[in-house]
């Protein structure tokens, strides 16, 4: 885990160093800043050092808990990220929960009645679901629920004044659309996957054995089919995490959710390299952590994978 994170950070840092533009572009075009001041600033921040030296400084600082300093907003990167991260985690977490909550029962039901009406309807919706990009469905939802019906706010606000239940209600209302868009998009692909995974298992010999035990079809499915069918599904969910994060960037942009996705875009546009570095690194950490969780889940779902 540590080596993979180190590798990711090297790649990220090198890519950002090679990218055109640096945070002082704006100062350079500003005639009020004399060239000497600019040079002094560059020296102070070590911007003219070779890449490996800058990386080394960044890494040492990171280990001391110093994520760097935003050139644009003049705030510590860690402060910026900590302000935005909880919102993103809530939106992504809730959408994943929604995706799994929809995909599991629908996928299992569709697989136990293959080619039935239910299966065909589920398949049709799944195809529509993952064919439509989130930026499209997001805009359609805004059009219907915010503009036409005026039920839900279409700008996500972090500064809700209400307290108590009203506070949570407001938060719930503004999260509904981003979570739905992201969750159903993920869920659509997951339905297809759960269905095929269950279909693979349901034909196996031990399912016939389970039926011959007289435990009832319901227990056969829940105990003997779904449990084994979940193993590849866990893999898919873990592998999809990077896609979920990139999907979150787009969705946050549409609904103006002040999460790390929108922070990433604004800091990229402003050439705010330390923030870009920080945000991408945090996303990388989260993806690695989710894969670790998936590995632990394997061990629990499948006793053939032993822990040493």
């Amino acid at each position: 885990m540590i080596p993979s994170l180190l590798g990711i950070s090297v790649v990220l840092f090198t890519l950002l160093a090679m990218a055109p533009g640096d945070p002082f572009d704006e100062l350079a075009t500003n005639p009020a800043v004399p060239p000497e001041v600019r040079a002094a600033l560059r020296l102070k921040f070590g911007l003219d050092d070779p890449v490996w030296m800058r990386y080394w400084h960044w890494l040492i600082a990171l280990m001391h808990g110093d994520w760097g300093f935003s050139f644009v907003s003049r705030v510590d990167v860690s402060t910026l990220i900590m302000q935005r991260l909880p919102v993103t985690l809530v939106v992504i977490g809730a959408s994943q929960v929604l995706a799994i909550a929809v995909a599991l029962p629908v996928g299992v039901l569709a697989a136990t009645r293959p080619y039935s009406l239910f299966d065909q309807i589920a398949n049709t919706f799944a195809f529509i679901g993952f064919s439509l990009p989130t930026f499209f469905t997001g805009l359609v939802l805004i059009l219907i629920f915010s503009i036409q019906l005026d039920w839900l706010p279409f700008v996500y606000r972090a500064d809700i004044a209400a307290t108590g239940w009203a506070f949570y209600w407001e938060h719930f209302k503004q999260s509904v659309m981003p979570v739905t868009v992201l969750g159903l998009f993920q869920g659509a692909a997951l339905v297809r996957f759960v269905r095929s995974s269950v279909l693979d298992v349901i034909r196996l010999d031990y399912v016939t054995t389970a039926r011959s035990k007289g435990i009832g079809e319901r227990k056969v499915i829940t105990r003997h089919v779904v449990r084994t069918a979940l193993i590849p599904v866990v893999t898919l969910i873990a592998l999809q995490m990077p896609i979920v994060f990139s999907g979150a960037v787009v969705t946050e942009q549409i609904f103006r959710v002040p999460g790390i996705g929108s922070l990433l875009i604004s800091s990229m546009l402003a050439n705010d390299t330390p923030v870009v570095m920080g945000v991408t690194f945090v996303s990388a950490c989260l993806v690695v952590i989710f894969n670790l969780i998936a590995d632990i889940l394997y061990g629990w779902l499948d006793p053939r994978i032993a822990f040493r």
Binding site: Y206, T208, T209, R211, S212, K213, I215, E217, D302
Partner: protein, 323 residues
């Protein structure tokens, strides 16, 4: 006369496929009395397994369906029985073991869990009691160190040991009938003998009946009292073991018996092992006459015109042949 447990009458289990109706079981009559071991023999694809699975209604429907017939279990027809009623018969009255011990156990649960699951379903026991009962069953099927093995997963057992676990599972609710669907085919010869011996032992201990499905005539000769020979979805001959081996009447049965390798007629007599020429006819459009006609060396005109009925050639010896 012994009490009849299972009485299958004119059973037809057909499967709908893209090419048409496959008549896997096409009018089978089969009776099993209390305490007897009945062998069901025939080559691959003759409908043995489908007959066995039909009894417990383990056929996927669709594509399969019962076209006709009755499966009378102690006088009660199982075919129209609702699923909940059927589940009370499964494992508790009729248990089944399969050909492939490697894939018949669920890899993600311990064998103790899987045996305990059956026991708990049919008897009102706590988890602890079910586990103890599972240990007892494992001890009964001669698995060494059962107290420890009960918490092992199937992949930690060998093929023969897994078949013992399957037998333990099948026996755990003391069924009246055990359907053994080629229980030894996937095992090597020494283990085969052990498993057959174990089944015999269990049978005597519990006084149950066994329906032994196999294509090995040797196994039948050793373990069964009565034999039913199936060919292309139909019963062609039924007799006691002695009558069948001593005086086989159907040309197919004769061929099957001649194809058993024998040590006493060995290489020095330069006798080649006989085989039955040809293959099983398609069950999509079975021939109108005797289904064996195309492979029979005694074939006559009458054979291809109409299906000969199953007639009693000698007391208790039935054969579907005009000869």
């Amino acid at each position: 006369m012994a009490e009849t447990l299972l009485d299958i009458r004119d059973l037809k289990t057909w499967f709908k496929t893209d090419d048409g109706m496959v008549r896997a079981v096409d009018g089978v009559d089969l009776r099993i009395d209390r305490g007897e071991t009945v062998g069901v023999v025939g080559e691959s694809g003759c409908g043995k397994t489908v007959t066995a699975r039909s009894v417990l209604k383990l056929i996927d429907m669709p594509p399969g369906r019962f076209e006709n017939g009755q499966i009378l279990w102690q006088g009660r027809d199982l075919i129209p029985l609702p699923a909940e009623e059927m589940d009370k018969i499964r494992a508790r009255e009729i248990a089944i073991i399969f050909q492939e011990p490697m894939t018949s156990l669920n890899p993600v649960y311990t064998v103790g869990d899987q045996i305990g699951e059956v026991i708990r379903q049919h008897e009102n026991l706590s988890k602890k009691q079910a586990r103890d009962a599972a240990v007892e069953m494992l001890r009964l099927v001669n698995i060494p160190n059962p107290g420890k093995r009960v918490d092992d997963y199937p992949h930690q057992f060998s093929g023969g040991m897994r078949q013992r676990v399957m037998i333990a599972m099948a026996m755990s609710c003391k069924p009246k009938l055990l359907i053994a669907d080629e229980p030894t085919t996937a095992l090597d010869v020494t283990i085969q003998a052990q498993i057959l011996e174990l089944m015999q032992e269990m049978k005597e201990r519990l006084g149950m009946s066994i329906m032994l499905i196999t294509h090995a005539m040797g196994v039948v000769a050793e373990t069964c009292q009565r034999v039913v020979v199936m060919y292309a979805g139909k019963v062609v001959e039924e007799a006691s073991v002695e009558a069948l081996f001593g005086n086989p009447r159907h040309p197919y049965t004769q061929g099957l018996i001649r194809s058993i390798p024998r040590v006493d007629r060995g290489a020095e007599q330069k006798q080649r092992l006989e085989a039955i020429p040809g293959t099983v006819p398609s069950l999509l459009q079975p021939p109108t006459g005797c289904r064996f006609a195309a492979r029979c060396k005694y074939v006559m005109d009458v054979c291809t015109q109409a299906m000969p009925p199953l007639k009693e050639a000698a007391p208790g010896h039935f054969v579907r042949c005009v000869l």
